[in-house]
């Protein structure tokens, strides 16, 4: 992966999928780099074959066996089988599973997010546009919507999941270290879509940060 070091400088940013801050986005970023290398090699191969056609000797062109069965079917199928298997394996690793992980909730509306998570003393609190989660601990997030379809996405943590009216969707995420991450609504939801952002405050386990009451906290405690 050494050859990508110079590029990686341009891959940062608060919403970059290429700068993972959790295991889920980490394996997907690995998948991306692997696919990028594969795609670059295949593109180069196709262009090379194309370039050689101009100087090629028609008598050595090869027949259907080579082009159709060898390259079209054989080569393509081999690449795809490996890739799909790799993809399913990655997918299985980042799925929600029933292991009693921390539960938080994200409720989307036009245009903002209401999060429910354990507060300083462990009782659930409701916040606006800020999600508090402990570092180094997997959590499942229940994603719902009260009006149109939205999509919950924290690129540095992992893939997005839609908030669909009438459904509860679950995503398993985990943040590795304490920091402030950014998230946004990824599904077009009307005129407020561009600004439907939120923050994820990752705090060290057991050290719930002081909340900025003015800005975001609804402050109301809800019964569990």
């Amino acid at each position: 992966m050494g050859i990508f070091v110079p590029w990686l400088a341009g891959c940062g940013g608060p919403l970059s999928t290429l700068d993972p801050a959790g295991p889920s986005s980490g394996v997907v970023a690995g998948l991306w780099w692997a696919m990028l290398i594969g795609a670059a090699v295949i593109t180069a191969l196709v262009w090379l074959l194309l370039a050689l056609a101009w100087r090629g000797d028609a008598t050595r062109a090869g027949g259907e066996r080579l082009w159709i069965w060898g390259l079209g079917v054989g080569f393509t199928m081999s690449v795809l089988v490996v890739l799909v298997a790799y993809g399913v394996w990655v997918g299985e690793r980042i799925l929600t599973r029933d292991d009693g992980a921390l539960r938080v909730a994200a409720h989307a509306r036009q245009w903002g997010w209401e999060f429910t998570q354990p507060g300083p003393d462990g009782t659930p609190i409701v916040t606006q546009d800020v999600l508090y989660v402990p570092a180094g601990r997997p959590f499942d997030i229940e994603i719902t919507s009260s009006d149109v379809i939205h999509s919950f996405w924290v690129p540095r943590l992992g893939g997005k999941m839609d908030a669909v009216p009438g459904r509860v969707n679950l995503a398993r995420l985990q943040a590795d270290a304490p920091e402030v991450l950014e998230g946004l609504c990824a599904e077009f939801c009307g005129v407020g879509h561009s600004v439907m952002r939120f923050s994820v405050i990752v705090y060290p386990e057991g050290a719930f940060p002081e909340m900025d009451v003015d800005a975001n906290v609804a402050g109301t405690e809800v019964s569990p």
Partner: protein, 848 residues
Amino acid sequence: MTMTSQDASSLPVQATAAGFAANPQRRALRLHKELTEVWTDAPGWRGVLMSVNHTTIGLRFMATAFVFFAIGGVLSMLIRAQLATPRGDFLDTALYNQIFTMHGSIMMFLFAIPMLEGLALWLLPKILGARDMAFPRLSALGYWCYLFGGLIIVLSLLGGVAPDGGWFMYTPLSDKTHTPGINADIWLIGVTFVEISAVAAAVEIIVTILFCRAANMALTQMPLMGWYMLGTAAMMLVGFPPLILGSILLEVERAFDWPFFDVARGGDPLLWQHLFWLFGHPEVYIIFLPAAGALSTLIPVMCRTTILGYGAIVAAVLGLVFLSFGLWVHHMFTVGIPHMALAFFSAASALVAVPTAVQVFAWIGTIWKGRPQLHLPMLYVLGFFLTFVMGGLTGVMLAIVPFNWQAHDTAFVTAHLHYVLIGGFVFPMMAAVTYWMPLISGRRRVKGLGEAAFWLVLIGFHGTFFIMHLTGLLGMPRRIDIYPDNPEWVLPNLISSIFSMVMATGFALFAFDIAMQFLFGRQSRRNPWGAGTLDWAMVLPAPAYNFASLPVQGPTGPELILPLARGEGLLPGAPRGWRELLVVDPGTGRPSHVAVLPGNTLLPLVTAVAIGGLVGLLLAGLYWLVPVALGLIVVAVWRWGSIMGTTCDHTAVAVTPDLMLPLHWHVRRSLAYCGAVATLVADGTLFASLLFGVAFLSVVAPGWPAPASDLPEMLAPLAAAIVILTLAFGALAARRAENARATPRGRLWAILGTAAGCVALLAIGGAALMLDDPRRHARDALRAVLLAYVAVHVAIATLLALRTWTDSHHGRVSAARRGTAPVWRLWQDFAAVTAAISVLVITLQEIG
């Protein structure tokens, strides 16, 4: 015009080898005059309004599509101008939303689909060796529906009420609560209006390819373009009905509050997504296949060789048609579907790369075995390779579920889809246009301009979209208008915006080049590329009738032009003053009969205006006037049938001195009958989509089971029984009426069939009164839709029964001519079966 001995011998050799005697040689100019008289458009404005000729209509489609492409392109420039800076205040958000929605909708529905329809209409008869499409008036009707629908959609932008929910119009964002204005109605009704032309084109492309080829051209010998278009048309026939159904349901929900997509009342917004992508993914291949067909046609010509792997390519086309219906869910990987189900769709989505790769490698192998020449069309072919391969590879990436969860709805997807659509459609189409321009204009191009346009488009395209992959991976979502807090997105967006202007300049230069070629190009020689397909076996520009006499399957080449023009082929000239078309057996291509096609007529325009009136009333919400518009449409369509009948028997016509074939009035399996079958395939798919909706909502939607229904215990089954029995009786009557045609008994059966249809309609009306309020729950709404579907089909079957009676009454049938009866029988059976299935569905719901 002198004739070499080679010219003289080629066609008779070709014809006699196939078992046909050559027709006597005539003077080419005289034949040309005779045919032009019959086939050409009327002069002046009347010609504009009345033309049904496939060359005219096809070119009109393509030219109009290019205008819409320019409009969509201007909108994309506005998007790039807005995104060039992070706080762009060039457009306000509401207008920006209209503009990106319109950009996508215009490019998909008003450019890509009509462009390929235009290419098919213009090219197919020429390359298959026919004189026109099977249903010339349908071509014209499709064009007018496309034009009027497109105008409604584009004018809405000027009125500031354009659709603004994104080109896939996800509900609930597009429902009445969240989009109270007319914006969404314009999309739903306008696009459906345009889709009439897509379904019409699909029907006539299928029938034309299967039945209107050169004599003895077996399906397996057909030019690859035929296979590609056959695959395209089959996909359109099955792909568009789910979208049309979805649009109707959503519009009905918006207009009358029937809750198909409202979770509180048993609906589900995901039903829209399924219906939309059931269309939307095949749509990508509907667009790609004709472009691939153009590549398969012109790569061998540009490389002075034959295509490598004809059979494998045909298999790949069929594979794509099949597979493309199994991967719509990959647009929905993030809606919360179990992972193993996703894995299935992921594998299916990846698998579709195999037939695509087979074609790409077959093309490269073809270039290897030939001697490639870098003419302008070949440059665009190389542009295709450079671009499409990358788009295909990012497509495979997006098929991998975990990566899709990250990249979905970001600029990465925007980049991918432009690589696929511009790489896989626009570049091949530009290759196709430059390749066939001499046949269109009869002229050569002006050197230099085309090459400059190519390089500008290629550089501009990759400059715009390559970096956009990175922009997406850096987290930039689609469809946002400002990004003040993300300085890391500024540079890539600025790069995209700058290069997009370069690309736009390239497209403008391409259009300029085409205009220059028309105005100042020198006369082109015949068959300038030395192609071996029948489209070049005619003079330039292509005459209105294509071939003065029709070719036979066999070796083709420039030496064929003269014998065909001199009438040595089949069915020479227009001796009866009719537009005559040779109809062949679909498999073998053996000549079967001669179809007489309609000439110039205002009817398609009148019909499209009547449909446009209906569309206008629906948009204006004047539902009480809708019956008037429906009445006008019925009158127009009734007239449609009556000007094509005949009141006397005709003798068989001489196709060659020793081959006499009957005219289509004397044949049961006529083109019209086959067209009716194809229409019912689309119609049946619409019905199947409706059943899918019923099953999906009852199994998946949260708000089920539905409240108990208040159907009357005795009356409802009674009404259902009356409907089923009368329709079954109608099916019997249709058979009797056809068998006893042209006798009083036959007329009696037709009257009885009509009466039975009227009773069925009354019973359906009674059943409608018994239904629960459709606004209560999605189940009740779907029942009302099922009933409406049956009512429409029974009404059509009843009109066909009445038509059968009038045919008989006016002597339009005889022992040898069947008139409308076969089509009535077909519709009657279809109406009876769909009615029975609907009753069964409702019964099962009541029991279960």
